[in-house]
C-alpha cells in the first residue's frame, strides 16, 4: 500500500492545529508581550515608553525585590524536600494497608488537597487564633504563653510552610503510591529470600526504583513553591506585608496596587527565568543521579 506522506502530514497538522493555536494565543504570545512590557514604563493597562534595561537595573537595587527573592528561596527550602519525604513516608505506610482500609486512609490524606486555599486559610487561622485557637493549648504548654504565630516574624514562613505541606501532601502521596505499586512484588520476594532486613530493602530496592517518581515530585514541588502567593497573601493580612513578601506577591503589588506594569513585568521575567533554570537544572541533576 502506498502511503501519501504529504497527506498524512496535513492530517496530523490539522489535528494538532487547535492545540497550537491555543498554546500560541494563550501562552506564547502573552509571554512575548510580557517580555516586551518589561522594557517599558507602562502602567498596569496601556502602553508605555521604551526604557531599555532600566527596570532590570532598578530591580537589582530594590531591597524589596531581594527580600521577596530570599523569602521565596526560604519557602522553597522549607517545603520542597520535606513535602516530598513526608509524601513518600505516608505513601509507604498507606501501601501496607489493603482493600477498603487503604482507600479510607488515602481519602483522609487526600481530603485537604481538594480544599480551596481560602478555606485552608480559614481553618488554620482559626486553629492558630491567639484567643480561641485549639493549637494554643500545645503552644502555651511548651512556650509558657500563647503566641500569635502569624504575627511573629520568625514563625511566619515555617507556619505557612507547615500549612502548605498539610494542604498539598495528598497529591504527592498519590503519585508515590502509584510508583510503589509499579514495583514488582517479585523483587521484594527475592530480597526476603535473601534475608534482607527492612532498611536494606528500602535502601537497595524501594528508593532506587521509586527514584523517577521522586524526581518528578521534587520538580513539580519546586516549580509550585517558587510560585507561592495565595497562602502568604492571605495569612499576612493585617500584619507586616514586607518582611514576608514573596516574588509573585511583589509582582501583584507592583502591578495592581502601584500601577507599575512595566516594572512588575520585569520581576515576572526574572521569576520566569529562575523557574526555568532551577527546574531544568534540578530535573537534569536528579535524572543523572538516577541513571548512575
Amino acid at each position: 500500500m502506498i502511503r501519501n506522506q504529504r497527506r498524512e502530514w496535513a492530517v496530523a497538522f490539522l489535528l494538532v492545529l487547535p492545540f497550537l493555536l491555543t498554546y500560541g494565543v494563550l501562552f506564547v504570545w502573552p509571554t512575548i508581550q510580557m517580555v516586551q512590557l518589561s522594557f517599558t514604563d507602562a502602567p498596569l493597562i496601556g502602553t508605555g515608553e521604551w526604557v531599555g534595561f532600566e527596570n532590570y537595573i532598578e530591580m537589582f537595587d530594590d531591597r524589596r525585590f531581594w527580600t521577596a527573592f530570599n523569602n521565596t528561596a526560604y519557602f522553597v527550602v522549607l517545603t520542597v524536600i520535606p513535602n516530598t519525604l513526608i509524601g513518600l513516608a505516608i505513601a509507604m505506610m498507606v501501601s501496607r494497608l489493603k482493600g477498603w482500609q487503604q482507600s479510607l486512609i488515602l481519602a483522609m490524606f487526600f481530603l485537604p488537597y481538594i480544599l480551596p486555599v481560602s478555606v485552608v486559610y480559614r481553618i488554620w487561622n482559626w486553629m492558630f487564633n491567639v484567643q480561641f485557637g485549639i493549637l494554643q493549648y500545645p503552644i502555651s504548654f511548651f512556650a509558657g504563653e500563647t503566641i500569635n504565630v502569624f504575627r511573629t516574624q520568625w514563625m511566619f514562613m515555617p507556619a505557612v510552610a507547615l500549612v502548605t505541606i498539610w494542604w498539598t501532601c495528598g497529591f504527592n502521596i498519590l503519585l508515590f503510591l502509584a510508583g510503589l505499586r509499579s514495583i514488582s512484588p517479585d523483587i521484594y520476594e527475592a530480597a526476603a529470600l535473601d534475608n534482607a532486613n527492612r532498611w536494606t530493602i528500602f535502601r537497595k530496592i524501594t528508593w532506587p526504583l521509586i527514584w523517577p517518581v521522586t524526581a518528578l515530585v521534587l520538580t513539580i514541588q519546586l516549580i509550585l513553591q517558587l510560585k507561592i502567593f495565595d497562602q502568604v497573601y492571605l495569612f499576612v493580612q493585617g500584619g507586616r506585608p514586607d518582611p514576608s513578601m514573596v516574588m509573585v506577591q511583589y509582582i501583584y503589588t507592583m502591578a495592581f496596587q502601584r500601577n507599575q506594569g512595566g516594572y512588575a513585568a520585569a520581576i515576572a521575567v526574572a521569576l520566569f527565568v529562575i523557574v526555568i533554570v532551577f527546574s531544568v537544572l534540578q530535573f537534569q541533576l536528579l535524572r543523572a543521579r538516577g541513571e548512575k
Binding site: 493597562i45 500569635n148 493585617g238 506585608p241 495592581f256 496596587q257
Partner: protein, 425 residues
C-alpha cells in the same frame, strides 16, 4: 386568571413608560461596612425614594482599604468602574497620579451648588491636584477616645460634669491606665497590628509635637522630627509593654474588647459611634459609654483627620453621557445637602450649611468632639500617602512592630524613613 393577566400587562406597560422617561441608574461603590455603612444605606434608600422614576443608585459595598482601591484602580483602567464612588481625600494625589480619577469641571460642580465656599477651604482644596478638582468632600473624620463610664467612675477618673478628667499628658494618661488596670482585662483597647489605627494614633501624637512627616524638599522625617516620631512610637509602645493595651490585635478584635466590657477605654475612629449607639439601643451594651476628643499627650491638641469624598473614576474608553453625568452630580450634591444623617454616623459633615446648622451643633456625642475640626492634622499631601498607600504599608511594617516591642522605636523610624525615601526616588 384573566385579571392576573391584565395586572401583569398593565404593570409591564407602566414599567416601560418609566423607561421612556429615561431613568438613570447610577452605579455606586463604597467601602463603608461598619456602623456608618448602615446609615449610608438608609441615605441611599431615601435618595432612591425621592428620585423615583428619575435616578436610581445601585450600591455595592466593597472591603475598605487596599482591596477597595486595588479594585478601583484595575476596573477604571479597563473602563469597568462605577459611575460614582467614595474616596479618601488623603489618597487624591496617589489616585490622580495613577490615573484612576476623572477631573470634575467647576461649571459642572457649581451647577448643583458644589462650590468652594460651600466647604472649608483646606477640605475643598484637598480634593484638588494642580488646581484641578477631582473629589468633592463629604465629611471630616478623626479618631476619638471612647470610654466606659462605669469603669472610669470606679477608678475615680470622671469629673463633676461626667466627662473623663486627668487624661492629658503622656504621664497622666499612663497613671490613668494604671488606675484602670484592675477593673478590666485591658485599660485601653486599640488596633495594634497592621495599618489603620496605628497610623492614626501615631500621626496624632506626632502632630501634637509639630512633627514634620514630609518636608517641602521631599525629605521624610527631617532631622529634628525624628526624635518627635520616636517619642510618639515610644508612647504607643509603652501601653502595650505595660500590659494596658492588647498585643498584636486586629481592628475587629479591638472593637469587641471594648463593647464586651473587657477594656475601659478605646481609641478608634468616629465611624464606630453608630456601632455603640445601636448596641445601646438594643440593650446589648451593658454599660454607659461616652466619647471625647483624643487627649493631648504632648505640647498641644492635634488629631489625625481624613475625609470621605465622592469621586468619579476615570473609566478608560468610556465617555459618560451628559444625562448620566447630571445624575451623578445630583447624587453628590443631594448627599452633601442631606449630610446631617451622615453626622449620625459619627462623622463631621464637610458641607458648611450642615455643619453650621443648629441640629448638628446639638448632636451628641459629635458636639463633644467637634473641636476636632479645628485641631485636625491631615495626611501629608503626597503620592506615597493616603489610605492603602506606601505610607500605610510602612506603618504596618515598622510602627506596628515597634508598638509590640518587636523593634526599637528609633530603628523603626529610621527604617521607615529610608524605605519611604527609597520609594520616592
Amino acid at each position: 386568571m384573566k385579571n392576573l393577566m391584565k395586572i401583569a400587562m398593565l404593570s409591564t406597560a407602566l414599567l416601560s413608560v418609566g423607561a421612556v422617561q429615561a431613568q438613570e441608574t447610577v452605579v455606586w461603590w463604597d467601602f463603608l461596612a461598619g456602623g456608618d455603612g448602615v446609615r449610608m444605606k438608609s441615605l441611599i434608600e431615601r435618595f432612591n425614594e425621592e428620585h423615583a422614576g428619575e435616578i436610581t443608585i445601585q450600591p455595592t459595598t466593597l472591603e475598605w482599604g487596599t482591596p477597595f482601591y486595588t479594585k478601583v484602580q484595575t476596573s477604571a483602567a479597563i473602563g469597568e468602574g462605577p459611575d460614582v464612588m467614595t474616596y479618601h481625600l488623603s489618597r487624591v494625589p496617589l489616585g490622580v497620579e495613577s490615573g484612576a480619577l476623572a477631573p470634575l469641571s467647576t461649571e459642572d460642580l457649581s451647577s448643583v451648588g458644589l462650590t468652594a465656599d460651600a466647604f472649608q477651604a483646606a477640605n475643598w482644596e484637598a480634593g484638588q491636584s494642580d488646581g484641578q478638582q477631582y473629589a468633592v468632600p463629604f465629611d471630616i473624620h478623626s479618631i476619638i477616645l471612647y470610654y466606659n463610664k462605669d469603669k472610669l467612675a470606679e477608678a475615680g477618673l470622671l469629673g463633676e460634669d461626667g466627662k473623663p478628667t486627668g487624661l492629658d499628658g503622656a504621664e497622666n494618661f499612663m497613671a490613668a491606665l494604671e488606675k484602670l488596670k484592675g477593673g478590666s482585662q485591658y485599660s485601653v483597647s486599640l488596633q495594634t497590628s497592621g495599618d489603620g489605627t496605628p497610623w492614626r494614633v501615631f500621626y496624632s501624637l506626632f502632630g501634637q509635637q509639630d512633627g514634620v512627616f514630609l518636608a517641602e524638599d521631599g525629605t521624610f522625617f527631617p532631622e529634628d522630627s525624628i526624635p518627635k516620631a520616636v517619642a510618639a512610637v515610644e508612647t504607643m509602645a509603652s501601653w502595650v509593654e505595660g500590659g494596658y493595651a492588647p498585643q498584636l490585635t486586629e481592628y475587629e478584635g479591638s472593637v469587641a474588647l471594648f463593647t464586651n466590657g473587657d477594656a475601659a477605654l478605646h481609641i478608634n475612629g468616629v465611624w464606630e459611634v453608630p456601632t455603640l449607639v445601636d448596641l445601646e439601643a438594643k440593650g446589648e451594651l451593658g454599660f454607659e459609654w461616652g466619647a471625647v476628643a483624643l487627649p493631648t499627650f504632648f505640647d498641644h491638641p492635634a488629631t489625625w483627620a481624613d475625609s470621605h469624598a465622592f469621586a468619579i473614576p476615570n473609566n478608560a474608553g468610556k465617555e459618560m453621557t451628559p444625562e448620566k453625568k447630571a445624575a451623578v452630580l445630583e447624587v453628590i450634591s443631594w448627599m452633601n445637602e442631606n449630610s446631617l444623617s451622615w453626622a449620625d454616623a459619627g462623622h463631621i459633615p464637610a458641607f458648611n450649611a450642615t455643619r453650621e446648622s443648629e441640629e448638628f451643633k446639638t448632636m451628641e456625642p459629635n458636639a463633644t468632639y467637634s473641636i476636632l475640626a479645628e485641631t485636625a492634622v491631615f495626611d501629608p499631601k503626597s503620592t506615597l500617602a493616603g489610605v492603602a498607600s506606601p505610607v500605610y504599608d510602612a506603618v504596618a511594617n515598622y510602627i506596628s512592630p515597634a508598638m509590640n516591642g518587636e523593634m526599637e522605636p528609633q530603628e523603626a523610624i529610621e527604617e521607615m524613613k529610608a524605605d519611604l525615601q527609597d520609594q520616592a526616588e
